[in-house]
């Protein structure tokens, strides 16, 4: 039997520093692991072989089946936004700007961020749970023995599908969100319907829509990568799978909000 070396005793005064050091190193290690994992998956996304059947299946699961939740979120957010802007605008006689600010807020910010957060809950957790279950039931080992790389067969189709379908979902969310504001504007705030739509259409620019779409693509990649990463690392049965799903949602949500700020800063700087 190989003897396990005894750990040296650490003086009590050093222990808090030891804890801080361990936590910081652990955080760096985790960032390194996620980055390496993401790099491997992104390479698999852009090099052959791409499993087309699996990709379309994921597009259906991630994109199409998320339409109801994204649509409902968008309509209520658009409606609430219109009411809030009306209340705020009325303080300095700017109620007429409701359509303009609703469309700006939805396309540039709320559409992509809220669709991203909803998908972080629905898709990232689902991917983490599915892959986590595959990990603990040895299905991922089985894939390897059958000469299929999980990064190509499992992860790349999910990341590609989320990256390509979230922008489409955001375009739908933008439209529905604006219509939510329109409904409230016309039914509760005495706006003229055609004037509301005309103001909206004249105010919104291609840059507003593009900035939301680009954000959505980045959020889609984050959502799928976090789901795959946490699922791949899960261990220990049902508890481990549950923990992977939780970590995937939390990680994806935090990264979405952080990357949203970074992207907004970049877009502001380059005039997008």
């Amino acid at each position: 039997m190989t003897a396990v070396p005894a750990r040296p005793t650490v003086p009590a005064v050093i222990r808090p520093f030891q804890l801080i050091g361990r936590t910081v190193l652990g955080a760096f290690r985790e960032v390194g692991r996620i980055s390496t994992f993401a790099a491997g998956v992104l390479v698999a996304c852009v090099t052959p072989v791409i499993y087309i059947r699996e990709f379309f299946r994921q597009c259906l699961k991630i994109g199409f089946y998320s339409l109801p939740v994204v649509g409902l979120t968008a309509v209520f957010i658009g409606a609430a936004l219109a009411l809030n802007i009306y209340v705020g605008g009325s303080r300095f006689n700017a109620e007429q700007f409701v359509p303009n600010i609703v469309v700006l807020g939805i396309t540039r910010e709320l559409g992509p961020v809220l669709a991203g957060l909803m998908l972080a809950g629905r898709v990232s957790a689902g991917i983490a749970a599915e892959i986590g279950a595959m990990r603990v039931t040895e299905q991922i080992d089985a894939l390897l023995t059958l000469s299929a790389k999980p990064s190509r067969y499992l992860y790349a189709p999910r990341v590609l599908a989320a990256t390509l379908t979230l922008p489409l979902l955001v375009l739908v969310a933008d439209t529905i969100g604006v219509m939510g504001g329109y409904l409230v504007g016309v039914t509760s705030l005495d706006f003229n319907g055609s004037l509301y739509l005309k103001n909206t259409w004249q105010f919104v620019t291609g840059n507003d829509i593009w900035s939301g779409v680009i954000k959505a693509a980045v959020f889609g990649a984050i959502i799928a990568i976090m789901g795959c990463y946490q699922g791949d690392r899960s261990k220990g049965g049902a508890g481990g799978v549950g923990r992977a799903a939780t970590l995937a949602v939390v990680g994806a949500a935090v990264l979405i909000l952080a990357s949203n700020y970074i992207l907004t800063s970049i877009f502001t700087r380059i005039g997008l």
Binding site: M1, T2, V4, Y51, A133, M134, T137, E138, Q139, D141, A142, L143, L144, T145, L146, S147, A148, Y153
Partner: protein, 258 residues
């Protein structure tokens, strides 16, 4: 499986394999060989590292020390491990069938995704292989969740043999099955391994499986192979560890895993 022709050059060889998890040394220098056409069964108590041994052999785990040779060549690069996996089949303890695929897609997975065979031809060959494990074509379009435990094991066996491997690993093939189904699975393993002329490494606790499947038996204890011999010598091994295991006694040199 006595009567199988065995040549001397090993199909698989493990030399001094060590594997450690955290502070626990699971494998402490495992030496193991299996010749072409030979059926080796590895027995040992729970948690002795039997599954870890075959995962190291398949490159699913990387040993800290030691080497794995397949067909005389070291399996220490990703290319060599890929070559090893192309010529091996594996039946996992729980079947490890892919939930999202149908039975025939599971069985012909390697044909479609590794060998590039079209879906029509792959389905045809999957149904032929399912017949070899006594499953009808009606099972082909079912999902794994719709099958009984015994049927799942048979599908997993079909998946392991469809590409006609030279070496097949069986990880506790009869665990969780009733004795009659377990015997049927053992018969299928013997029948198919013999038909392919493949070497086989089986790990199991089930002594009925050992007696039916094995040409030779090796015992893993405290991370090392402590006994190896023909199955005919199992009852007269002279090893107290083997005697305790074969007779299923709590008293003896092996401590129960509770």
């Amino acid at each position: 499986m006595s009567g199988t022709h065995i040549t001397s050059a090993p199909m698989l060889e493990l030399r001094g394999v060590h594997k450690r998890f955290s502070d626990k040394d699971v494998l402490r220098g495992v030496d193991l060989t299996v010749a072409p056409g030979q059926s080796l069964v590895v027995i040992g108590g729970s948690g002795t590292g039997k599954s870890v041994t075959i995962k190291c052999a398949l490159g699913l785990m990387t040993p800290e020390k030691g080497e794995v040779f397949f067909d005389g060549l070291p399996a220490n690069t990703s290319k060599a491990i890929a070559a090893l996996r192309r010529r091996t089949g594996m039946l996992f303890q729980g079947g490890a069938l892919f939930d999202s695929l149908t039975v025939w897609e599971n069985v012909s997975f390697a044909l479609m995704y590794r060998d590039g065979i079209g879906r029509g031809e792959a389905k045809k060959r999957a149904i032929e292989t399912l017949a070899k494990v006594h499953l009808g074509a009606s099972a082909a379009d079912l999902r794994p969740a719709e099958l009984s435990g015994g049927m799942q094991k048979r599908v997993a066996l079909a998946r392991a043999i469809i590409a006609k491997p030279d070496l097949i690993f069986f990880d506790e093939p009869t665990t969780g099955l009733d004795p009659i189904t377990a015997d049927a699975v053992n018969n299928l393993i013997v029948e198919q391994v013999r038909a392919l002329g493949a070497a086989a490494i089986t790990i199991t606790h089930d002594m009925a499986s050992v007696r039916k499947i094995a040409d030779e038996v090796a015992m893993l204890h405290e991370g090392r192979i402590i006994w190896r011999g023909p199955v005919s010598k199992l009852d007269a091994s002279g090893s107290p560890h083997i005697d305790q295991f074969v007779h299923g006694r709590a008293q003896g040199p092996i401590q129960p895993a509770i």
